[in-house]
Amino acid sequence: MNSDLRGVAPGPETRLAKRFSDDYLLFEKLLGSGSANQTVMLGDSVLWGIYADDASTLPAKLNAGSRPVVNLGVDGLHPVAMYTLIVKHGATLRNRRVLLLSNPLWLSGPRHNLGDPQDAAVNHPGLLPPFDLRIRAGGSGWKARIGRWIANSWEFVGLRTHIRRKAYGDSTLSEWTLKHPAENPLSPLLAPLQPWEEPGQRRDLRTWTRRRISLQDWDWQAPARSLQWEYFEKTLSLLQAQGNRVAVLVSPLNVHMMTETTKAKYRELQPQIEARLKARGLPYLLLKDLPSEAYADASHPLPAGYATLAAEILANPAIPLE
């Protein structure tokens, strides 16, 4: 794997290919492959930029500043998963500058507290802390918990995932041979690793209104009772303890898509978030709301939205990117 990674350090417009979203071993190696003066940005798909091309994501736009920024956003990476990712695979991040993008959508309902054992559709189930008994979503039986503990403790499990993702994407080897009946199943194993998203892919750039998304009603979870926020703060503590210079950006949700009641409660939530960040003494910035046409859905900006956000961040001395 190390020979595979020669010369694949993250650059100003790179981002992890989606098929490697659960390849945590690769993520760990990539974390350690950049240069020390780069600011590493961590976050979910809002950071990754699912409705933007490589040059239009937030980290790409922030590279207009003097300090290089790399995009290590991971699709679906909720705060609980991010915590485990840093704990198990973040040792190579020590002493680096880290800019965390916090997405308040993870506080938008009790489902995100991961307490429902019937909820199997959880992102990154392999990163759910196995022995936090409050977490019952994504498999709460002893088998699932021990499986997660093993997966995060034994490197060979990560290597297995890496080999599969590198060579066969979402398929197993067996499934791949059926989808590619005339091809040699060993050849993808020997091909060079391409960890970055392929440039030039078509993105759906419609606004949320053109997608006909209706107004949303959310049951906001205050930071004090949100499992996701609790783990977000644990991540901050962990990063600070391992010598990282941490700053936090709180991405602006699409208030135009909220009902009036939800918007009012969201406005009450924002000062609570700000108070908690302030109490930590970290540089932070609650990004301003974007215009309606800058959003593709509830939380993901379109390229123009990212450009606006980047300008706001670069102009703010609280976030040290200059």
Binding site: R160, R164, E175, T177, P181, N184
Partner: protein, 459 residues
């Protein structure tokens, strides 16, 4: 619980630990029985009542036979036969018989139908009833004495490594092993673990892989071309072999680690040179059961060729029916019966001796493959449609996966090699070590974490 699950790993760790502690004591069989009942009850605790019932009946029947006259023994044996075959017939065949009766009645134009029962089939019922029946029949024949210890007998019937999918073990083979302290040394582990790993590899890496293609093609055979159907038939030929023999290998590996020996159930069946040879290599314990308890009591070959053919055909038809309550299994058994009869008619001809061995093996493997179509298809009509399409050279869209063909080719050549002089190389420690290492590497790096159900569990 399936062998290739975490539940079984934990269960076996506990069962094995207790077995090590208790193997020198008089509680060894108590522990084995308790573990076996936990294993069986894991599927459905209601099944425990059934196995306990049949075990109790057969224990009492056998004890009752001791020292009795032939007529009394016969009467007692009939109780065991009625109980075991009755339960088997009720759970497994009542739906088939009811549906067949309704179809026949409808054919005559009479407006009458019997209710069709929908019963939950107890896992392994075909196996443990046959195993227990072999015991009562052997006691009736005075081949073995009746077992006095109920716990030991119950442990023989229910021993968990072979309970739900065989091999069907004779009392004369297993009861003595349960009567003494099993030897569990380094060699048991060195033999048992590779056997288990080989079985796991066969199931997870090979059978489940082939199943992906088989299920896809057999889901809509009417839309497939000849090549795809033939390839799927071959894939199923190897899928069922790897599935069933893989389970048996795991069962034998587990038993070996516990100091018990279970009989070999598969001996490279696709290297067979004739139908008779095939049935001496495929599901050996079942073949021997039908030979000893159906074919021989019917008279075997003692009453002339005509009667011998009849006995063979009837035995093979019953063997087919044992596999499943459907006409497809009867046809499958019938095809093999016809092949056996033809072999009996022509097998002594000098012509056959001049056929090269490899040609015989190819022909037999092809025949077995075409018969398996009836085993896999949903109906006789579907099976005949598939055969028709195979032989009609119908073009299709589907491209046959090269890797699949390679797997099947290598598997068949492996079986041929295992029955040839190359076998001596395959028994070398370096070869076995390399094979084991490769299997472990594949399982660790590539195997899907969700294995499928075993085919023979439905029997």
């Amino acid at each position: 619980m399936l062998f290739h699950t975490w539940e079984f790993a934990v269960f076996f760790a506990i069962a094995f630990g207790g077995h090590l502690l208790l193997k020198r004591t008089r509680f060894m069989n108590h522990w084995l029985l308790a573990c076996s009942y936990v294993f069986y009850g894991w599927w459905n605790w209601l099944f425990l009542g059934l196995i306990l019932f049949t075990t109790s009946i057969d224990y009492a029947v056998a004890r009752g036979m001791a020292g009795k006259s032939l007529s009394i023994r016969r009467w007692l044996l009939s109780i065991s036969l009625v109980t075991n075959l009755g339960l088997l017939g009720f759970f497994k065949y009542s739906k088939f018989f009811a549906e067949t009766l309704n179809q026949l009645v409808a054919f005559t134009g009479i407006h009458l139908s019997v209710p069709v029962p929908h019963l939950l089939l107890p896992v392994g019922i075909s196996f443990f009833t046959f195993q227990s029946l072999s015991y009562t029949i052997d006691v009736y024949r005075e081949w073995i004495p009746a077992e006095r210890n109920f716990i030991k007998f119950a442990a023989f019937v229910a021993l968990f490594p072979q309970l739900v999918a065989g091999p069907i073990v004779r009392a004369s083979h297993l009861l003595p092993q349960l009567a003494s302290e099993p030897r569990i040394g380094k060699q048991n582990i060195l033999d048992g673990i590779p056997l288990f790993v080989a079985g796991l590899f066969k199931k997870v890496a090979l059978a489940d892989y082939l199943a992906l293609y088989v299920d896809r093609v057999f889901a809509s055979p009417e839309n497939q071309g000849s090549v795809a159907l033939l390839c799927a038939a071959w894939a199923f030929t190897f899928q069922i072999y790897f599935d069933f023999s893989g389970y048996t290998d795991m069962a034998r590996g587990v038993a070996r680690m516990m100091g018990f020996d279970l009989i070999l159930n598969f001996n490279n069946p696709y290297a067979a040179v004739s139908p008779r040879d095939f049935w001496q290599r495929w599901h050996i314990s079942l073949s021997q059961w039908f030979r000893d308890y159906v074919y021989v009591p019917l008279g075997g070959n003692r009453f002339g060729k005509g009667r011998a053919y009849f006995n063979v055909i009837l035995t093979m038809l019953l063997s087919g029916l044992w596999h499943g309550a459907a006409w497809t299994f009867l046809v499958w058994g019938g095809l093999h019966a016809a092949a056996r009869a033809i072999q009996g008619l022509c097998g002594d001809a000098p012509f056959f001796d001049r056929i090269p061995r490899i040609v015989k093996q190819l022909l037999m493997a092809h025949f077995a493959c075409l018969c398996w179509i009836f085993f896999r298809a949903g109906s006789v009509h579907e099976a005949t449609m598939i055969l028709q399409r195979i032989f009609s050279r119908i073009p299709g869209q589907e491209t046959v996966p090269v890797a699949l063909v390679c797997v099947m080719t290598i598997a068949w050549l492996w079986q041929l090699a295992s029955t040839s002089r190359v076998r001596s190389i395959m028994e070398q420690p370096w070869y076995r070590g390399a094979a084991l290492g490769s299997m472990v590497l594949y399982l660790v790096l590539f195997a899907s974490s969700t294995g499928g159900q075993f085919i023979y569990f439905q029997f």
